[in-house]
Amino acid sequence: MKEQVIIADKLSKRFGQFMATNQISFSVSAGEIFGFLGANGAGKTTAMRMLCGLSIPSEGSASVAGFDVYTQTEEIKKNIGYMSQRFSLYEDLTVLENIRFFGGIYGLSDLQIKEKSDALIQQLGLEKEAKKLVAALPLGWRQKLSFSVAILHDPKIVFLDEPTGGVDPLTRRQFWDMIYAAADRGVTIFVTTHYMDEAEYCDRISIMVDGKIDAMGTPAELKKQFDAQNMDEVFYQLARGAKRKE
């Protein structure tokens, strides 16, 4: 059994009367690609914010990279990377400046930043664009760059919140190649998505409905369980029962 890097046990978040996340329990092991699915408003973002140390849970317990989400949020933040659904680099900074900035706030040394940015730019083939403003890059490249920046400080776990929104299929495929490469290096990937073909790429997925996790397993297991041809059908069967609207 591999090391469990994310463990959530009956994790809940209440806003007044509203249970945004209702007693969710799951665990993710090191190097796993864990897909976190659910319709809009199902509570994915709230759950993710709690795991990232941005939001204190109301009930339940959870640990991320071995640190407690109530008391050790600073330690958690050092060990995770994060990329949001909204574009998260600075458009009025150049590619290199963005890398240097994020390296800087994660406390990397100048030498580390230099080595990492050289490697990263070579890997992404951005040699000509390194000194250009990010605003001038096509969206797909920005997303790839954004992911590379999110794992710049070698986090144990990286949280991706709908990372491929608005990106063409080819770039999405390349993006997933990057995710696989990171997972092969032992980085745990926690990803939310609305694309069901992407769900198939995950090692294991959970599907949230109305604040609860209604199904969890490998894509093959889920398809078998719900007697479905593909993940689209599985998702549809579950989400149809949802009472919450957006």
Binding site: Y82, R86, S88, Y90, I105
Partner: protein, 368 residues
């Protein structure tokens, strides 16, 4: 510390790459000083004067000449009757008419006294009073030069000294006012907008997920504006000393010290606005309407606070720029020391502390 520096460097990239910000930052102070220094002025110059000279003698001609060579008046027309005076007033260009009675010169020569009549357009009372004062000064001058033996028409003649600003220039009043306004604008609005922009763009989330402490995020967003504002203080002072010939009477270090205090006050207000709002437009509106307008109205720079109704006088006390304006005026124009400005310093420190405590509390609530 290294994290902080990376952040500050990034902030400078933002500022230096945005032409609009750069213009507001460095163009605005220059433009305002030029406008207030050369275009807008409450000094009354070259007012059109109407003369009805019934005397037509040497003395009256001399007096009219004195008025003409002063910078304050321009003889528009010489008329021959009262009805003509009234007609010309109705046409609107004339501010003041001077009537010299028939026996002006001989009265002066023989009785050592004479009378003059001034007719004012008092639809603008302040200007009318100012013009009367100018005429009085010129007449006194004329008497002293030509009729040293003439008695003053009134037994008590107040000897007026205009302290700190003998020539009644506008600059000693508006330079401190412009400083208060510019700093308010830059620190409050720019800080608020630049923090809210990170929220709008989604980069704030990324920053909060990083190990960089949230409070440091806020501090390092505000810090560059502190530096830039001090650059602005310097440029305004240079302009006022070298362009407007307005010397700094007091201690320049103290002037910078109180400016830094005021800048910190404004930055903390900017931070509070950014914590409370989520869009750049709202942040900008609140900064302009909620901060600039009171700064303009209640600093005492344009409208005297003493003349306001009591409730407004009370409100003016929570407007930071009022206190800064008093301090800059005190140090720059009157050459006061810090011991005379303890109260103002105390008020600013108090406002800053309260605002900062509120913003930190609100910021934490948002995070939870």
């Amino acid at each position: 510390m290294k994290q902080f520096l990376s952040f500050v460097r990034k902030e400078f990239y933002h500022v230096l790459r945005d032409r609009k910000t750069l213009f507001i930052l460095f163009g605005m102070p220059v433009v305002q000083i030029l406008i207030f220094g050369f275009a807008l002025s409450n000094e009354v110059k070259n007012s059109k004067l109407l003369v009805f000279n019934q005397a037509q003698d040497e003395a009256s001609a001399k007096l009219i000449n004195e008025l003409e060579v002063s910078n304050y008046f321009e003889i528009e027309k010489v008329v021959g009757s009262y009805s003509e005076i009234h007609q010309t007033f109705k046409q609107g260009d004339i501010r003041l008419a001077l009537v010299i009675p028939a026996n002006f010169g001989s009265d002066l020569a023989h009785q050592n006294k004479a009378s003059l009549q001034l007719i004012n357009d008092a639809s603008d009372p302040n200007t009318a009073t100012t013009l009367n004062n100018y005429v009085n000064i010129i007449v006194q001058d004329f008497l002293a030069q030509n009729y040293p033996s003439a008695k003053s028409p009134i037994a008590i003649l107040p000897q007026t000294r205009m302290l700190y600003n003998p020539q009644l220039q506008g600059a000693p009043n508006f330079v401190p006012g412009v400083m208060a306004m510019i700093l308010m604008l830059i620190c409050v609005m720019m800080t608020a907008v630049s923090i809210v922009r990170e929220k709008e763009n989604g980069t704030m989330e990324v920053l909060l997920v990083s190990p960089f402490k949230p409070i440091l995020v806020i501090l390092s967003k505000a810090f560059p504006y502190l530096l830039l504002s001090l650059v602005n203080v310097t440029s305004i002072l240079l302009l006022s000393v070298y362009l407007l010939d307005l010397p700094i009477q007091g201690n320049i270090f103290m002037l910078y010290a109180v400016s830094t205090l005021f800048i910190i006050t404004c930055l903390s207000i900017g931070i509070l606005i950014s914590v409370l709002t989520n869009s750049q437009q709202v942040a900008m509106l609140i900064s302009l309407m909620g901060m600039m307008l009171p700064a303009l109205l209640f600093s005492g720079f344009m409208f005297p606070i003493e003349n306001m109704p009591l409730p407004l006088q009370v409100i003016s006390n929570i407007v930071p720029s009022k206190w800064y304006y008093i301090m800059v005026k005190g140090i720059m124009i009157k050459g006061l020391g810090i011991s005379s400005l303890l109260k103002e310093t105390g008020v600013l420190v108090f406002i800053t502390t309260v605002v900062l405590i509120i913003s930190i509390k609100k910021f934490k609530i948002r995070l939870a």
